[in-house]
Symmetry: C2
Subunit: 367 residues, 2 copies
């Protein structure tokens, strides 16, 4: 921004000075340093954790990377991913994000709360694309055994920073200025530069072998169905009782592979809870970009039945299980002069007891 | 999209076929041809009009371009500009666009309607960044002499296509499928592929020297203040009585130059009416990216007073002149599962009788 600003003429620079624009550029430079405390903390946590896993020192780990990696300047794509991860601190772990969270979490938490509390500790839940993990944490607070699965190292590093008992010890310990970088749609500088403190609660992973919150860093498509938890008597089949996808399925390169994987990982009769938009990753990358109608057809072809029917008209289901449209936002800035409203779709779908196949234009089940 | 689709495996292709995905790809190819009727018409109109202006034949004009121009394949940037121009047919000249138009046009038309009707034919209005010209047309229908000014050849070609008495002869003559190209956020294929007919009314330019709608194709920053219209007795100064900017000022590379040019082109006491967001063109291009507060400071520095005060609290002004926030959309698709809501700012500002300069941190007028 400074490089652009210096190109204006002397008279305009005088006006810019009187407007306080040069001071604002200086303040941005300071806030970038404040934000860097969080990003440095993330890097420290990541080095230490991955070094522990590899049983080497952090310095040894770092020096083991090729110099091209250690010295590569950050590119604009990485920068935007880092800024996105910072905004997820707000969305997932700050008071400022609570209104956005309540809109998208509440329908999901209501749907998984239909299982009686005593059964929950014997039930596994998977949250693919779990980001900074707040939803997975909330579901684990209901008493479930929850696995958060996230592919992005940007997200995993940021989440590890919160999970780490040395890096994050108290609530509201950290501060970032997540809106300082983009000066459009802003009413005043105070709003633009405001700080957000986090986390509002401190998340911790469960010990190995105990029920609680677990993290798998990797590709959801590579997961295998887990064995049943101890005491799980209702079904001895492998697989998850629930899979919960929030703003996830439209990130699929091949949505059919995603549907098949959700189907494969669920126990027979298991439940898939989804909330999100249909913003397919750019057409060059996404193999198929389905309409909602086509997506429901594909779900039936793969072996899912939408609870309450596609139109949410089946009265045999409680309302909290029925398909509906939920207007919501995503890492929004409530002070900005702009809002992106997703008319996201919520549905609960159950895995057929038997595998389904598509024959002709009708869906039939095969033995 | 077809190139991405063919990369999926045989089993998925079978599901895709059953979903009707291959038929949908075929239908898109057909609709691209339908849309091409409009874009071909635009090119024909442009060639003929510019040939007339240069007193050569259309074929001679075309052959006079270097072969590199004639044979350059269209790039993705041009394609997105063409799609944007097509969406402006919907926004400006279709029934489907009327609700979006009414939200953003009505405040502006109310503000310029405060001038009594008999004075209007002696008053000049400038609409910079006029796009496909509907707002300028509407203001001319109130009785004003209106100059639409637009830099983009994409927009000007499309507007010429409507203005041309050979290309556009009847209402709803043309049809496009403006939402066919982007398959995200769609509920069903019928919505995605729907056709929009236009124009709902037929615009025509005024003859030279007569009061009505005029078009200047070029850069607003290069315009000079016009001489007074015949019969204009209230002020013999050069300049426009009104300048109307709609979704325009944030496209400025240097907003201070834009403010100075609006100031220069207005008559003393002339009126600037603005409605729009503050989505500054990308930081690499925009020299300054001001907050709303800074923008008002800059306006005062350049020589404008906001009608009713910045907070819209001055009761000496009628409500229709007061600064306010107007939630609105921009070339939106009312069937899509996504909405972009701009909290756009509306204001009326008047040019000081005397030039203003900024001294210290306070605004003073100089003789």
């Amino acid at each position: 921004m400074r490089a652009s600003y210096v190109l204006i003429g002397r008279t305009h620079k005088r006006i810019g000075y009187e407007l306080g624009y040069t001071k604002k550029l200086d303040r941005l430079a300071e806030l970038i340093q404040v934000n860097a405390k969080a990003t440095d903390g993330i890097v420290t946590a990541m080095r230490r954790i991955y070094a522990q896993e590899l049983s080497v020192s952090s310095a040894t780990l770092w020096s083991s990377f090729p110099s091209t990696v250690r010295e590569t300047p950050i590119d604009s794509h990485s920068l935007s991913r880092i800024r996105e991860a910072l905004k997820h601190f707000v969305r997932d772990w700050s008071d400022a994000g609570s209104s956005e969270r309540s809109v998208i979490f509440q329908p999901i938490l209501s749907a998984v709360s239909t299982l009686p509390a005593p059964s929950r500790s014997r039930s596994r839940v998977l949250v693919p694309g779990s980001g900074l993990g707040r939803l997975a944490h909330e579901i684990s607070q209901l008493g479930y055994d929850v696995t958060a699965c996230e592919l992005s190292a940007y997200m995993n590093g940021a989440f590890r920073f919160l999970l780490d008992s040395e890096m994050t010890t108290t609530v509201y310990q950290h501060e970032i200025h997540p809106y300082a970088h983009w000066w459009s749609h802003s009413r005043n500088t105070a709003d633009l530069f405001r700080g957000i403190r986090f986390p509002d609660v401190i998340p911790r992973l469960a010990e190995e072998e105990t029920v609680g919150l677990h993290l798998t860093e990797g590709d959801f498509l590579a997961l295998n169905a887990p064995t049943p938890l101890a005491g799980s008597d209702s079904s001895r089949a492998n697989g998850y009782d629930f899979i919960v996808t929030l703003f996830f399925i439209d990130t699929s390169v091949n949505i059919l592979s995603t549907l098949e994987q959700i189907h494969k990982l669920l126990k027979p009769g298991g439940t898939w809870v989804n909330l999100g938009p249909l913003l397919w990753c750019s057409s060059a990358q996404a193999r198929l970009e389905l309409t909602l109608e086509e997506l429901f057809d594909a779900m039936e072809a793969v072996g899912f039945a939408v609870a309450g029917g596609r139109d949410g008209n089946d009265d045999d289901e409680p309302d909290c299980m029925k398909r509906r449209t939920i207007p919501c936002e995503y890492t929004h800035d409530d002070k900005a002069m702009m809002r992106w409203i997703y008319e996201a779709e919520f549905w609960v779908a159950r895995k057929y007891e038997r595998q389904a196949a598509l024959v002709g234009t009708s869906i039939v089940t095969i033995q």
